[in-house]
Amino acid sequence: MTTTPTRTTPDQLSIPPDGRPYHDQPQWRNDFPIDWPQDELVARRDFTKFLVLTSFAFVVGQLWIVIENFARKRKGKPPVRRVARADAIAVGSSLVFNYPEAHDICVVVRTGAQQYFAYNQKCTHLSCAVVPDVANGRFHCPCHNGSFELATGVPIAGPPRRALERILLEIRGDDLYAVGTEVRA
């Protein structure tokens, strides 16, 4: 009859992990017994330590957002920049331009004689470039089938949850100017 080793006191050494009695265990296990309860304790403690480090990483992430926000505020208002001649964009067509920085790609769409809408081309889901679909009154993101309303930039379909960054426009004389940006929820 085999007996399963049991712990008689809370701090007893080493119950073999397969639960078999000691005389059925290989010789090396009897020569070098492992203190399994202590091993478990150390494993849990180290996992807790790892989680506390993860917690610290989250704090670093939060501080990074604070710094980015501070930098964004310090930048101030974006410059006023000429986009194109107002009549250079035909009704129902669009034009790509850079604003406020050279790496910020934006698109302006003309929907009527005096109606222009401009947005940053980055989709608010995963930053793919949105494509104007004037016939359907929307911007379409081909990556994950997201859609934004052309007139407002708010998401109407697909995974995006935030509106496109709007570029504020002004017509001065014959020219179209970008005068600012508007980030929205």
Partner: protein, 75 residues
């Protein structure tokens, strides 16, 4: 004088602390994603309170970890 703690009791305490730390870490993850979303949407009001809350959570977690080490030193 502090009472001696058996290894089984220590194990129970460590499990309890581990559970609390897991819950707080998940809370911090949620806080980070919510703050990032607010930052990208231009809502600045929540950023600093969220950072402070996350820092408090971390301090609490670190306190619990230090308690585990103090507990291990106790015979």
């Amino acid at each position: 004088m502090k009472r001696a703690v058996s290894r089984q009791q220590k194990m129970t305490i460590v499990f309890g602390i581990l559970s609390i730390v897991v819950i707080i870490a998940v809370l911090q993850l949620w806080l980070l994603t919510a703050t990032m979303n607010a930052f990208l949407a231009g809502q600045e009001r929540v950023i600093i309170p969220a950072a402070v809350a996350s820092l408090i959570c971390f301090a609490f977690n670190a306190g619990l970890l230090s308690y585990i080490y103090r507990l291990e030193r106790r015979q």
